[in-house]
């Protein structure tokens, strides 16, 4: 074998190895790449608000799956209008909690049916329990009750001392 032929073989070997390395490398790069696709799945969307009607905007929100009531399925913040949405993957009672920094906690339990997940039902998720904060007339009654209790406690303490 002449010197020229050996050089050509060596060059061919180097090019092959480099090509292989580039192929493997590019494969690795694709494996770490990101992408997205649009889903046609049904999502549950809820709006959380204060008793005064103001939305619970940008507050901590957690979604708990029926499968695991302790580890959250989804965590994040409610949007500008106090809305939280998620895509349930199994049927059952899903718990959604929104809590602000003042300790106000709104909790909803949504019953998701199999039809809802499959997308065949228009309204298949229904609210089983609403906000933990009383609303409207009930709120007024509770507020008045609270004030009444405070004055009654004062009257009792005054009588005892």
């Amino acid at each position: 074998m002449s010197g020229n032929n050996r050089r050509t073989l060596n060059t061919g070997f180097v090019v092959t190895v480099l090509g292989l390395a580039l192929f493997v490398g590019s494969g690795t790069a694709f494996a770490h790449g990101v992408g997205y696709r649009r889903l046609g799945m049904s999502a549950v969307a809820l709006e959380f608000f204060y008793s005064t009607g103001e939305s619970m905007a940008y507050q901590n929100a957690r979604v708990y799956s029926p499968k695991d009531g302790k580890a959250f399925f989804q965590s994040g913040l409610s949007d500008e209008f106090g809305r939280v949405s998620f895509v349930p993957n199994i049927q059952g009672d899903w718990r959604i909690m929104v809590k602000d920094e003042e300790g106000h906690l709104a909790e909803a339990v949504i019953t998701v049916t199999e039809e809802f997940i499959l997308g065949s039902g228009e309204v298949s998720a229904e609210t089983a329990a609403g906000s933990s904060i009383p609303m409207g007339g009930e709120l007024l009654i509770r507020a008045l009750l609270g004030v009444s209790v405070l004055f009654n406690i004062a009257a009792f303490v005054r009588k005892c001392t």
Partner: protein, 203 residues
């Protein structure tokens, strides 16, 4: 500013209850029977204030009324805070019953500190100093209350330190609002009902 159920450890909850019991019992002992009605009235305002939300930046908050409670009730503040927080927990699900002790110490203790540090300055000086002192009292009350809340969280779990720090920082706008509110309240009361600024008479 309320700590919700589930955040505090059992030793911290116990310490909270112990301190709150002492604070409330001593407060009741020091308060004259004639002052009890005023305690109930201010306690009612504190109880109802939690229902009125103010939008601050992206979130919402409500007036804590810690400084007005301290300035108007003195030692009567801790019992007033305890009763109001109990009713907020039972009727509105704000905070909780297990954390009632810790919340009482945070807010009642802050109100008491406002009374001790600013009470005399707000009562006995000219209008300019009174206004500045009232603003400082309002801001201090909020920051001390939220600082103690953060302390309870960190004592329960060191990993909650960033959350506690964020809680304190997020209350800065409320501290300013509450300072302005307290200053206006003091000016108004000085003009109309100056006697009200005398705290509940002590035994």
């Amino acid at each position: 500013m309320h700590i919700s159920e589930g955040f505090l450890s059992v030793p911290v909850l116990s310490a909270g209850w112990l301190l709150a019991a002492g604070e409330v019992a001593y407060g009741l002992k020091k308060t004259e029977p004639e002052g009890i009605v005023r305690v109930a009235m201010i306690s009612s305002a504190f109880f109802l204030a939690s229902l009125i939300n103010i939008r601050v930046g992206p979130g919402a908050t409500h007036l804590s009324l810690i400084a007005p409670m301290g300035l108007l009730l003195g030692w009567g503040a801790p019992p007033a805070v305890f009763a109001a927080l109990f009713l907020q927990a039972v009727l509105f699900q704000f905070g909780g019953l297990a954390v009632l002790g810790a919340n009482t110490v945070s807010m009642g203790g802050a109100a008491l500190c406002v009374y001790i540090l600013f009470g005399k300055i707000v009562r006995d000086n000219n209008r300019g100093i009174q206004t500045i002192a009232a603003f400082a009292a309002g801001a201090f009350g909020v920051m001390m209350g939220v600082g103690m809340t953060g302390l309870w969280l960190v004592l329960s779990d060191r990993s909650l330190f960033p959350a506690a720090w964020l809680l304190v920082a997020s209350h800065l706008p409320l501290a300013v609002i509450e300072g302005i509110f307290t200053a206006f309240l003091v000016i108004f009361l000085k003009r109309t009902f100056p006697d009200v600024l005398e705290p509940v008479r002590l035994k």
